[in-house]
Amino acid sequence: MVTLSINNQKVVVPEDTTVLEAARQINVNIPTLCHLEGLENYGSCRICVVEIEGEPRLSPSCMRTVSEGMEISTNSKRVLKARRMIIQLLLANHAENCPTCERSQNCELQQLAFELGVRENHFVNMVNKVPLDMSGPAIIRDPNKCISCGRCIRMCHQIQSVGAIDFMNHGTDIMVTTALNKGLGNVECINCGQCIHVCPVGAITEKPHVDAVWAAIQDNTKHVVVQAAPSIRAALGEELGLAPGTLVTGKMYAALRRLGFDAVLDTNFAADLTIMEEASELVQRIKNGGILPQLTSCCPGWIKFAEHFYPDLLPNISSCKSPQQMFGSLVKTYYAQQKKVEPAAIISVSVMPCTAKKFEAQRPEMNASGFRDVDYVLTTRELTRMIKESGLDFAGLPDEQADRLMSRYTGAATIFGTTGGVMEAALRTVYKLITDTELSHLEVQPVRGLEGIKEAKVNINGMTVKIAVAHGMANARILLEQIRSGVSPYHFIEIMACPGGCVGGGGQPIGYDMVLRSTRGKVLYSEDTKLPLRRSHDNTEIKEVYKNFLGEPLSHKSHELLHTTYINRRNKK
């Protein structure tokens, strides 16, 4: 243990503690910018500098480990002056269009400038305007706002093991960009959007579909159908005046209806449908000696990751489309038929916790209905903005029901939104398919929680089914390497690109806060226990769609509408 003094207050901490951590232990807050809990320390922004007695220069507290007898001041005149000036310097090379910035009032630089008392800037703004990177299908990068803190890079490399972005050039020309400045649309970016969560400013945002959706709603010749993903109901309330951890399913339906959507449906219906198809596929693979382990396919970020980095494992991935796309292809066929609406007049909108879903909806093969299966994808943040824009008092809305036909769901569907949820949901139906009896104990505790890789064994009729769950692509890589080298013991693996699963998706309210993500997950688990039906195969609307339209899981029609193929992107020029 090491004893030191911070602002004349004694603190005893273990060796290797940083000064920043030591200060936080005694509730002394040191402002930070490039530092972020969960990412490696980097030490580039210098905002967290402190004065150490006897040293000629200030020292960055995030990088500096404590030593015996250190006397530290975190708020001396010299320190405060330095911090103010650093903020001024950063602002001088930052496109200061704060009022119109998407991150206005949710920007760490803006907040620091305010909190540190920066009320003027001695340095004139010298931003050298460069074009935005609009090449990606889901994510826009604005280098004019970038402050080169490197958080997005560390996220992309360390947590996601993708490495689509890095620093290029040096000196004052340094910039975050893709390989050869080709743009996010032309490199291995998987569109997971985790970089958006860690960006302290508005340099990375989703490609907005808000205006297109408004236009569709206002067009009377269009029948605008909306679906909302499982994890939206666990996060939408956060920026609309409700406490984190509030389930807002009923208010969400009410809000969507008031925004003017012609039909308010639910992706959860399609999640149950996905389980029917994916569980059947797994049972078929196990019974017929097919390729195992089967990998889940509902995460479009993970799919693109596999297409770039593990094309040899594409046969392991379930051929099932994601719930969003299953819903999309049914809405312009089954729904159109049942509701007697011209499919061409339908605009299919989804609300997703995800940026990669924007990419998925644009994949050329996603047109099984004969039309674009999903026309527009809104993130949770975009829906939040639409609700605010339209002046709805979200917290005061009544709980309403969704419209019939494609909205009823079971507990199995709702837990899709969190890591491990797809696995649990699938097991409930796999058990039924193999044994023709119902699984009595529905919760599989070992696959819950925020451990990077979770595994469990489930006994089904004397057969031990080995399963694993990974979230965050660096974790998934470990399981994928096992498969590649032929030592994977598993039958079924669930992979979600974002840490925490969809509750932490790239389209959710901003922040890389694993505790909050876990809270959202718990909301979904709790909804599961409260729903009357908890197994996908019990869903009455699912029974209807098979009886009236699809026939049975893995039928010819199912294959046509609900299954897909993947592309080897490794050698794509």
């Binding site: 001088a92 000196g171 004052t172 340094i174």
Partner: protein, 412 residues
């Protein structure tokens, strides 16, 4: 005085190992291999040899690396001579490459390393080729490689060529560059002696420092410690350039005055003296010819010795242009990681350009000084800490030139 460092550079064909050996080359290595490593270390300690860029005692660096139990250990020769106006290592690399190899092998033997690297600046293609040839010759003749001269000691040297980055000359950045990363200076501690190349204990020494080693081994540490300035024994190479009549590399003891260097060796200033950058672009300008060229004396006048790069400027030189020139250099060569360095240089350059256009505000002078203070206080490495040194020293010495460029406010 007798030349220790440059003694061989005028000899013909000295890059050839047979010429080097015939002239007594690799004798120090032979002697070393019969000595105990701790005895060599002791001689180096007695010599009081310090690193020629930051004045850190060589023996201390070596013994810290030697004591470390981690394996393997590496010897890295810093030949990334990127300082503008610095051309001394180049001379040694191209004219006396075997002495550097010999020094590195002795260093490896002393600290317990079997692998050395020479990090040569990217632009030095010719020098790099000469060193590569010397390595092959040394290997063919048994001075380098497995079981050197039958002693059982093995040592290998490989050349690593940088891509031409100035900041890669900073040792932690250099080691990162060698490992395949961007050359951005690391946070110290830990120092390379503990956590160096690939995370292993590493001795990083400059070419000029290392070349002293064979001489010390042959003549003993005591002999070396009596040469030149008692505070900093041995000799120093000074690269003299700018408005002088005879620019070049001069080997002189520490503590020689600027006046002696410029007038006696450089045959005087071409034109009338205005200012001198005594330690490269990171040092502060000076005007006093009586200043002694050693670490302490230059620190006293808010400047630094750096690698011994003396750039002389006469009255034709515009001090504003010089400040802008140094800042443009740093803007290009900073690694760009630290916010204060990157943005501070950008801001400094913006302000200086206002002076160049006669559009500066009176407050800009104070702003530059405050900015320099901030950068010294908070930048991670010496590049950022020193980027505004030349500018602020120019303000101190030639304030009237700055004031004359302030926008005339009495328009009415």
């Amino acid at each position: 005085m007798e030349e220790l460092l440059l003694k061989n550079i005028r000899k013909t064909n000295y890059q050839n190992i047979s010429v080097y050996v015939a002239d007594g080359g690799y004798q120090a290595l032979k002697k070393s291999l019969f000595m105990k490593p701790e005895d060599i270390l002791n001689e180096v300690k007695k010599s009081c040899l310090t690193g020629r860029s930051a004045a850190f005692p060589v023996a201390t660096k070596w013994s810290l690396t030697r004591q470390n139990s981690a394996r393997p250990k590496y010897i890295v020769c810093n030949a990334d001579e990127g300082e503008p106006g610095c051309f001394k290592d180049r001379l040694l690399l191209s004219r006396d490459p075997h002495r550097l190899l010999e020094a590195m092998i002795i260093t490896g033997y002393t600290v317990g390393s079997q692998q050395g690297y020479i990090y040569i600046r990217g632009e030095y293609t010719n020098e790099s080729q000469i060193v590569e040839n010397a390595i092959s010759q040394a290997e063919e003749n048994g001075y380098l490689g497995e079981n050197i001269l039958g002693s059982g000691f093995s040592f290998h040297i490989r050349v690593y060529q940088g891509a031409g980055s100035y900041v890669a000359g900073e040792e932690t950045a250099l080691l990162r560059s060698m490992a395949g990363f961007r050359p951005s200076p690391g946070i110290r501690p830990p120092y390379p002696v503990k956590y160096g190349y690939l995370g292993k204990p590493t001795v990083v020494n400059n070419v000029e420092t290392l070349v002293n080693i064979p001489t010390i081994v042959l003549n003993g540490g005591d002999w070396f410690s009596e040469i030149g300035n008692p505070d900093y024994p041995g000799t120093k190479l000074f690269c003299l350039s700018g408005n002088v009549n005879r620019p070049g590399v001069y080997e002189l003891p520490f503590g020689v005055t600027l006046g002696e260097l410029i007038n006696e060796y450089g045959y005087g200033v071409r034109g009338e003296l205005k200012a001198i950058l005594p330690g490269g672009v990171a040092s502060g300008l000076v005007t006093d010819l009586n200043i002694k060229m050693d670490y302490k004396s230059l620190a006293k006048v808010n400047s630094l010795l750096g690698p011994g790069v003396v750039i002389v400027m006469n009255k034709d030189v515009d001090i504003i242009a010089i400040s802008i020139h140094t800042l443009e250099f740093f803007a290009r060569e900073s690694c760009g990681k630290c916010s204060v360095c990157r943005e501070g240089i950008r801001a400094g350059l913006t302000i200086m350009n206002r002076f160049a256009r006669n559009e500066a505000e009176l407050g800009d002078i104070e702003l530059l000084k405050t900015l320099r203070r901030l950068m010294y206080d908070t930048a991670n490495c010496v590049l950022g800490q020193a980027a505004l040194n030349a500018t602020v020293s120019a303000i101190r010495l030639f304030r009237n030139e700055f004031e004359s460029r302030v926008r005339n406010q009495s328009v009415w």
